[in-house]
């Protein structure tokens, strides 16, 4: 694995620029306090922002004096996310850091992530299974299924590529001829298909056949693209 053309493994010039946050809480000594975890990270992280750390603690209502071992799973995730954002590393990777957080905390994290990115634009990689929740944060999307790269697109383009067409079976078949059909469902004479391609072209075909057309949320595109791989 290379970052800026340099190997990452045990290369301090690269690793000091990277912050990998996992929900498991391996960034902190669980016998210590939240405050100590932050002090330790501040000492280790070259771009540490105390202001961001303070804001996040307040947002997540984390007590600096509380022992990490006494935190709930969600609070541990919140602490890990705090460390990740406050590190301000040029490459920050959140590997499902939200696990354990309840919905309001997750949304608070997404808001903080977006605000922080606006203040300090940098590469933030967010790996997640809760796609719909975080779809608004994405600028680029990479879908990996069982270690296989399924897709790499910018979010805007991807959102304009998924569509559903509903109508009489024959008309739908004519409209989707030559297109990449992700899934097909039949209900009596009515057929519903999910297609992946240029929406302008799909829209023209749908109008020509008088079909109902809708855009597909990113999560549905994800589900269809990954299940397409499973079927192969």
């Amino acid at each position: 694995m290379l970052v800026d053309g340099a190997p990452v493994f045990d290369n301090e010039a690269a690793t000091s620029q990277i912050c990998l946050i996992r929900e498991s809480g391996d960034m902190v000594d669980s016998t210590e306090t939240v405050g100590y975890a932050l002090e330790f990270a501040a000492d280790m992280r070259p771009y540490w922002s105390e202001a961001v750390a303070g804001n996040m603690l307040e947002k997540f209502r984390l007590d600096r004096k509380k022992r990490v071992s006494a935190l709930s799973r969600g609070q541990r995730s919140a602490l890990a996310s705090t460390l990740g954002l406050a590190a301000q590393a040029p490459l920050t990777i959140f590997d499902e850091a939200y696990l354990g957080m309840d919905a309001p905390t997750r949304y608070a994290f997404y808001d903080a992530l977006l605000a922080d990115y606006m203040d300090n634009p940098r590469l933030i990689v967010l790996s997640t299974h809760l796609i719909e929740e975080v779809a608004r944060l994405f600028s680029d999307i990479i879908i990996i299924d069982a270690g296989r790269l399924v897709l790499r697109e910018d979010a805007e383009t991807l959102q304009g590529r998924g569509a559903t067409l509903v109508g009489p079976r024959d008309a739908v078949d004519r409209a989707t001829a030559g297109l990449r059909v992700l899934s097909t469902r039949d209900l009596g004479p009515t057929r519903s298909v999910a297609v992946y391609g240029e929406l302008a072209d799909v829209g023209q075909r749908a109008r020509a056949e008088n079909l109902e057309m809708g855009t597909m949320p990113i999560q549905d595109i994800f589900v269809h693209l990954t299940s397409e791989g499973d079927q192969k």
Binding site: T15, S16, D26, V28, R76
Partner: protein, 246 residues
């Protein structure tokens, strides 16, 4: 200011944070432990005469404390530092420096404790006798007391670091290394005419002096500490960072 506009400060080789934290902790442990070890002879004196230095026994316990700290550094701090961006090799180098300086600090604390003990023993009229089988002549032979403590603690600290890193990497493989580490400690002990281990035949055969020898002890300990550091390096230089259970 954006991230790209700032320069990273990098990781210092000198383990300042580790030394300050563990130095303060060692100071607190020493204060409590030495107090207990100074009180014990007073209590024992009500039941039987005091014939040896109580703190002399304390030295034997202190080496296990240093070993435990070495394990902690190799097991816990290794992962934490790597997770926060320091390289494995960079941390191990810092850990080696830490082990040598921390063992010197503990040795100094141990030497200093003979002074209040001398005051108590002198007042009570008890003989402050130490184990004969050592590099020093008595409780006031401070340089040799310090050398003895430093060499011993550095060996135990390096052993702890080795075990910490080795068990972090692979507990089964590390368990297999226990005999090797014991052998290293027996070899180091030859310079101090240690009666431990199966290498006593070397003393009986006259290969090594039967009396503690400062030069031999220093050379053997330095070599053995280097071997243990080498073992820690071998296990730690490419150890995978595990994902803990949540």
């Amino acid at each position: 200011m954006t991230t790209a506009q700032r320069l990273p400060k990098g990781f210092a080789l000198f383990p300042k944070r580790l030394l300050v934290e563990q130095g303060l902790f060692a100071g607190m442990v020493w204060a409590g432990f030495s107090l207990v070890m100074l009180i014990i002879p007073v209590v024992v004196s009500f039941f039987r005469p005091i014939e040896v230095s109580g703190w002399g026994f304390g030295l034997g316990i202190a080496q296990w404390y240093v070993l435990a700290i070495g394990c902690y550094v190799g097991w816990q701090m290794f992962e934490l530092h790597v997770m926060h961006g320091q390289s494995r090799r960079g941390f191990l180098k810092s850990a080696f420096i830490f082990t040598l300086l921390f063992s010197a600090l503990v040795a100094a604390l141990c030497v200093v404790t003979f002074l209040p003990e001398a005051l108590i023993y002198g007042t009570a009229g008890w003989p402050q006798v130490l184990d004969d089988n050592r590099l020093y002549d008595g409780p006031f032979d401070f340089p040799m007391l310090f050398l003895h403590g430093w060499l011993t603690f550095a060996l135990y600290g390096a052993g702890g670091l080795f075990f910490g890193v080795a068990f972090y990497r692979n507990s089964a493989l590390a368990t297999l290394c226990v005999p090797a580490v014991l052998a290293v400690s027996w070899i180091a002990g030859l310079g101090m005419a240690s009666t431990d281990g199966p290498l006593q035949f070397l003393v009986r055969e006259g290969v090594v002096p039967s009396e503690p020898n400062a030069l031999l002890a220093t050379v053997l300990h330095v070599l053995c500490v280097a071997v243990l550091f080498g073992g820690a390096w071998m296990f730690g230089r490419d150890a995978a960072i595990r994902k803990k259970a949540a």
